[in-house]
Structure formats: structure tokens, C-alpha cells
């Protein structure tokens, strides 16, 4: 019996655990503890000096999993230097004296099913391809449904009448998703909760603020790393629009890119790497539609997003839309973020009243 673990990101640990526990029924899946300030502290301690922050977060969770007894760690990523994390992280972990293996499912920005099969066979020789395909299908659907519901929540959570109703219902949904038996069961659960969500009482005023969040993918999807930005916006009764989610990254990105390039061709001609060019197009979209403001978030030293920032600034200037830049680091203070957010929020209110 091997103990498998993986660095987590947002709520996506549920579909990932589901997938792994079904394709490796005889092995133990270790669930990474929730990210806390201690995680980032450990991660920063052993990371190189000016690496981007997701490296520190993932290294921190990996080390915490190892404390729990993990033997195999799974890492994936690509696009920028994310794809190169795994090798250095393995070396750092081995230098610290742990005996473990890091499996990188995506290398050199590319992956194929053959390679993944080969790698997974190393974990357990009894691994079956057909099982993997079947459960991957269910997992992908689960991710898709989660993303759809998350989008709905983001639009409405700021206007809930009973405090915590959305959050509680989401937790109930996730626990039920975790016990999925087959695809039909999953689909039924999804439909049931979609109904329940739409029945939740909200009070949406006509003159509400709408904010679009764009930025670097890890920071946007892991709520701890952006200091629960979405939650604090919801407290101010703001409707939130976010584009990036796992389903987008896995299936829609390649298709959407061409559309984006056509749409924002006066601002970029070539791909800027990772999500940067997508964000430029989204910024233009937000400026043209009725959103009141844009928040751009990224981890510090994220090179592609740094390249996109001057361009986003230019677009916002041309359309006369306010944009707020956040760069999150391990040393960022919560109070500083709150102050800036509040000022931004006040400014938007004043503009709206004019």
C-alpha cells in the first residue's frame, strides 16, 4: 500500500481525491491539510529566493503531506515555469532527507495519455487504463459542474438574505459529490443542487456594483493565497465575475485563445505566455461591458502577468475604468489589502453615484 498525496488548490481537492481513490483502490490517498500561514512559512523557508509564490505554497503543502507519511507526490502544470516546479521540488525534498518520489504529469508544457498511463503504472502495477478513462470522465464532469455552480455563487453570494446560506449549501453539495457512485448519480445531484441554489433567496438591487477579477491562475483559484478576496468583496455586496477555472484551463483555453486574439488584436499580437494574453482580452471585455471596476491579482514575480500589466493599465486608461493591482507574497499583510480594497470600493461607489 502506497500513500499518495498532491498539493491542493481551492476546492478541487475533492474531484482529485475522488479520481485517485477510484483508480488506486488499494492505496491510501492522503488529503493535504488546509493551507494556513504555517504552510507558506515552511514553503518560503526552503524555496529559492525569487521564485513565484505558487512554488512556495505547493512546496509547503508537499512538506506537510510528507509529515503525514506520503510516499508519492503528484504535481502537474505548464505554460510558464510552473511546468518545471516538480524537478526542483523533488530535489529540495530529497535534500531535506525525505524518501519520496514526485511524479510530474505534465512536462515541457505538454502531456499525452500514453505518458500519463506509464507514470501511473509506476505507482501501482495493477493500475488499469479503462478504469482511469471511466473515472476521469466522471471527474471532468464533476469539475465542470462545480465551476458552473461556483460561477452562480459568485454572482449572487453578495446579495444573500440569510447569511451563510450559499456557503452551507455548497459544502453540502461537495460532500455529496464526494460520494458519487456513477455519472447518472452525479448528474442528478448536480441538477438537484442547481435547483436548490436558484431557490435561495437573494436581494439584488439594480444599482449594484459589478467587479471582474482577472489574473494569475493559481492565486485566483486558491482562496488562501489571495487572502479570501472574493469573500471580502461579497461582504460589500458586490457581484463578482471570474473567468479562470480548471475546466477552462483544461478544455477551453486552446479554443478561446484564437477568439481572444482576434478580439483584442490592437493590444497584443503574440501570446505572452500562460494566461497573460487571455487576461488582456478579458480586460477589454470588462471595460466594454457594464462592469464598474477590474481587480488584477497575481503572485509576486509572475513573469507573464508582469508583462501584461502595462498593457492592462493602458486599456483601462483608454476606457476610463478603474483597475486595482494586487501582488500577493508570503509577506503581504491582510490589513494592507483590506485598506486598499475599501478605498477602491468607496471610489467605485462615488463614481456610481455621479
Amino acid at each position: 500500500m502506497t500513500k499518495i498525496a498532491f498539493p491542493q488548490m481551492g476546492d478541487y481537492y475533492i474531484p482529485a481525491t475522488y479520481l485517485l481513490s477510484h483508480i488506486f483502490p488499494n492505496d491510501q490517498i492522503i488529503q493535504a491539510p488546509k493551507i494556513t500561514s504555517k504552510t507558506i512559512e515552511i514553503g518560503t523557508k526552503y524555496s529559492p529566493e525569487f521564485v513565484c509564490t505558487p512554488f512556495k505554497y505547493t512546496l509547503g503543502t508537499m512538506l506537510e503531506c510528507l509529515e503525514k507519511g506520503a510516499e508519492i507526490l503528484i504535481q502537474m502544470g505548464g505554460g510558464c515555469r510552473y511546468g518545471y516546479y516538480a524537478e526542483l521540488q523533488e530535489k529540495i525534498i530529497q535534500d531535506l532527507g525525505y524518501n519520496c518520489k514526485v511524479i510530474n504529469l505534465v512536462t515541457k508544457g505538454e502531456t499525452n495519455i500514453k505518458r500519463i498511463n506509464k507514470l501511473l503504472k509506476q505507482i501501482n502495477p495493477k493500475y488499469s487504463k479503462i478504469k482511469n478513462i471511466y473515472y476521469s470522465f466522471i471527474t471532468i464532469k464533476m469539475v465542470k459542474y462545480m465551476d458552473i455552480i461556483d460561477d452562480y455563487i459568485r454572482e449572487n453570494i453578495g446579495f444573500e438574505q440569510i447569511e451563510g446560506s450559499f456557503e452551507n449549501l455548497k459544502q453540502a453539495m461537495l460532500t455529496e459529490f464526494n460520494q458519487t457512485k456513477n455519472y447518472r448519480h452525479l448528474y442528478k445531484t448536480y441538477k438537484k443542487y442547481l435547483k436548490k441554489f436558484s431557490k435561495l433567496k437573494t436581494h439584488k438591487p439594480d444599482k449594484r456594483l459589478k467587479i471582474g477579477i482577472i489574473g494569475e491562475l493559481y492565486t485566483i483559484m486558491e482562496p488562501f493565497s489571495n487572502y479570501y478576496l472574493e469573500k471580502s468583496l461579497a461582504k460589500h455586496h458586490i457581484e463578482i465575475k471570474r473567468f479562470t477555472n480548471v475546466h477552462y484551463l483544461l478544455f477551453e483555453k486552446a479554443k478561446e485563445y484564437k477568439k481572444y486574439q482576434k478580439y483584442a488584436k490592437e493590444y497584443f499580437h503574440y501570446s505572452l505566455g500562460a494566461d497573460a494574453s487571455d487576461n488582456i482580452a478579458r480586460c477589454k471585455y470588462l471595460c466594454e461591458s457594464d462592469y464598474d471596476g477590474i481587480i488584477h491579482i497575481k503572485s509576486s514575480f509572475c513573469t507573464p502577468e508582469i508583462g501584461a500589466m502595462p498593457i492592462i493599465n493602458k486599456i483601462a486608461n483608454e476606457y476610463n475604468k478603474p483597475v486595482l493591482f494586487f501582488s500577493f507574497d508570503s509577506a503581504t499583510s491582510q490589513t494592507g489589502i483590506e485598506t486598499r480594497l475599501e478605498a477602491f470600493y468607496d471610489m467605485l461607489e462615488m463614481r456610481k453615484d455621479k
Binding site: 529559492p48 521564485v51 515555469r81 530535489k91 499580437h269 505566455g273 513573469t303 501584461a308 500589466m309 498593457i311
Partner: protein, 300 residues
């Protein structure tokens, strides 16, 4: 009469001779921005975003200097040399950043071998924009490539010969746009040469050999220029006394690749990271003690 401006930073250090040969063969006048000085660096700092890497800030400074002195500015975009040979994302973005920050005419071409965008196609396109006939362009391109290959071979030979020297030998690991830039790496090189050290440059090895060798340090590495550097370390590990890593703050590929190399090195090394307010006095102390340490080791 069209004048082409070439900023003396980033891409310049990879293609300088090739471009110059190409343009002079086509009889196109060109100007190169001066060696980096304080004024250019300050211009760059003003134009750029605070988190950009020092080399990119420097590049923007050079572009800013050239903007009203020529008709076109040459800014290529280099994306990859086949799949696992990517470049840093700043090389992908430089063209779009400059286009949005400045209001100038830009001559650009794209090197993206995955989509069959080659250097040849790029230079042909540039020749066409500057109203030259295909026959002239072909001739100029051939001439430039031949001259360039000769020069590269010569450089490789010089570098290899240095390995046989009996002086203390140090391998400088870094990107050429950092190593040879007046404000970034030149001071370090000058100091080391003054102290009678034989310097070997990591970018002046044959990439066909070094890229393959780099697998000994890192299997998954997919950054072309980091591969050159790590391969050079493996190639001459047993013939040198020490390694000095020079990178600009915060260089993305270096932060991971060099860290891995440092963890696997068995000979003494020094890691120097240069940002926009580092002074040479501080560096001098560190270099001095590093040389002392190497000397001590030699005498034993």
C-alpha cells in the same frame, strides 16, 4: 532613407553580428543604442513596471533612447526552438509591451519553430518591408549566416582553449545580456580579469554539445538558454576551479534552473543577483572573499 534602430540589450547579444551583417549587405543604415549608462537605465526604470526583471527594464530604456532617432526599431519575438527549447516569457512579450508603451514603428519577426516561423522567414519579411528585392535579401541573408557561423565557431574555439590555461579558471554562468552589459555584469568581468583570472563564458559553448549534457543536471528543463548554461557547467566541471552565477533580479528561468544546479554542484560557487540598486562595492567584497577561498584551496 530608412534608419533601423537596434536596442543594445536582450536580443542584441544573441544576434548582434548577424543583424549588422544583414543590414550592411542590404545597404540599410542602422544605429545601435550606446553602451548602457546611468541615463538609459533611469529611462528604463521610469518606463517599466516595478516588478519587471532588470534586463527588461534596461531594454525599455534602450528603446526609449532610440525612439526619436530612427524610423524603425527592430524587436524580434523569440518563442521557442522546437518544443522543449522555450525561452523566457519576457522574450515572448517584449514586442507587445514595447508596442503598447511607445508610439513607434516596429520591425518585428517571430521565431517559433513549433509553428514553422524561422529566422530566415523573419529576415526575409524585414527585407521586404524595407523595400528590398528578393534576390538582394537572399544574398544578404546567406552572407550574414555564413559570417555568423564562422564567428561562432571561432568563439567556441577561444573558449575551449581557455580551459587549457594554467591560471585559476572560473566559469561565468549567466545570460549574455546580463554578462556583457555595462551596468549589470561588466564590472564583475573587469574585476576578475584584473585579478588575473581566466574567464570561461557559459554562453560560448557549442549548444549542440551543451544542451545534451544539461540533462545530467536537469531532465525536465525546457528553457533553451538555461540549457546552454547548465550544459556548460557539466562540460567543464572537472577542469575549472569555481563557478560564478550572475543573474538579474528576478529572472524566472534562473530562479529554478540555477538553484537546481547549485544543489548538484560539487565545486565552489558564488551566486550573484543584481538588481537596480545594488552597488559594486558590496559585490567587490564578496568577489574578493570568493577568490581568496579559491586561492586557499589551490595552495592546499
Amino acid at each position: 532613407m530608412n534608419t533601423v534602430g537596434i536596442p543594445r540589450s536582450l536580443f542584441y547579444y544573441y544576434y548582434k553580428d548577424l543583424w549588422q551583417d544583414f543590414f550592411s549587405a542590404l545597404k540599410i543604415s542602422y544605429i545601435i543604442s550606446p553602451i548602457t549608462n546611468k541615463e538609459i537605465m533611469d529611462r528604463g526604470l521610469k518606463m517599466s513596471n516595478s516588478e519587471m526583471c532588470l534586463s527588461l527594464k534596461n531594454y525599455l530604456g534602450h528603446v526609449d533612447y532610440l525612439k526619436d532617432k530612427c524610423n524603425y526599431i527592430l524587436i524580434p519575438r523569440i518563442s521557442n526552438f522546437k518544443n522543449d527549447n522555450q525561452t523566457c516569457t519576457n522574450f515572448w512579450a517584449a514586442y507587445d509591451i514595447v508596442k503598447n508603451l511607445f508610439d513607434i514603428n516596429i520591425l518585428h519577426y517571430n521565431i517559433d519553430l513549433n509553428q514553422k516561423q524561422t529566422l530566415k522567414k523573419g529576415l526575409y519579411k524585414i527585407g521586404k518591408i524595407l523595400n528590398k528585392k528578393p534576390r538582394q535579401i537572399k544574398k544578404a541573408y546567406k552572407y550574414a549566416i555564413i559570417q555568423n557561423n564562422k564567428r561562432i565557431k571561432k568563439n567556441h574555439q577561444i573558449n575551449l582553449n581557455k580551459l587549457k590555461s594554467k591560471k585559476t579558471k572560473i566559469l561565468l554562468v549567466g545570460h549574455p545580456y546580463n554578462l556583457y552589459d555595462e551596468l549589470i555584469g561588466k564590472d564583475i568581468i573587469k574585476y576578475l580579469i584584473k585579478n588575473d583570472i581566466e574567464l570561461i563564458y557559459s554562453d560560448k559553448f557549442n549548444p549542440k554539445i551543451t544542451n545534451h549534457l544539461s540533462k545530467k543536471i536537469s531532465k525536465d528543463l525546457y528553457f533553451k538558454y538555461s540549457k546552454d548554461n547548465l550544459g556548460a557547467i557539466v562540460y567543464c566541471q572537472n577542469q575549472i576551479n569555481g563557478v560564478i552565477f550572475i543573474s538579474s533580479f528576478p529572472c524566472a528561468p534562473d530562479s529554478l534552473a540555477c538553484e537546481l544546479a547549485m544543489r548538484k554542484l560539487t565545486i565552489p560557487y558564488l551566486n550573484i543577483v543584481i538588481d537596480d540598486n545594488s552597488s559594486f562595492t558590496g559585490l567587490e567584497t564578496r568577489l574578493e572573499s570568493f577568490l581568496d577561498m579559491l586561492g586557499g584551496k589551490l595552495n592546499d
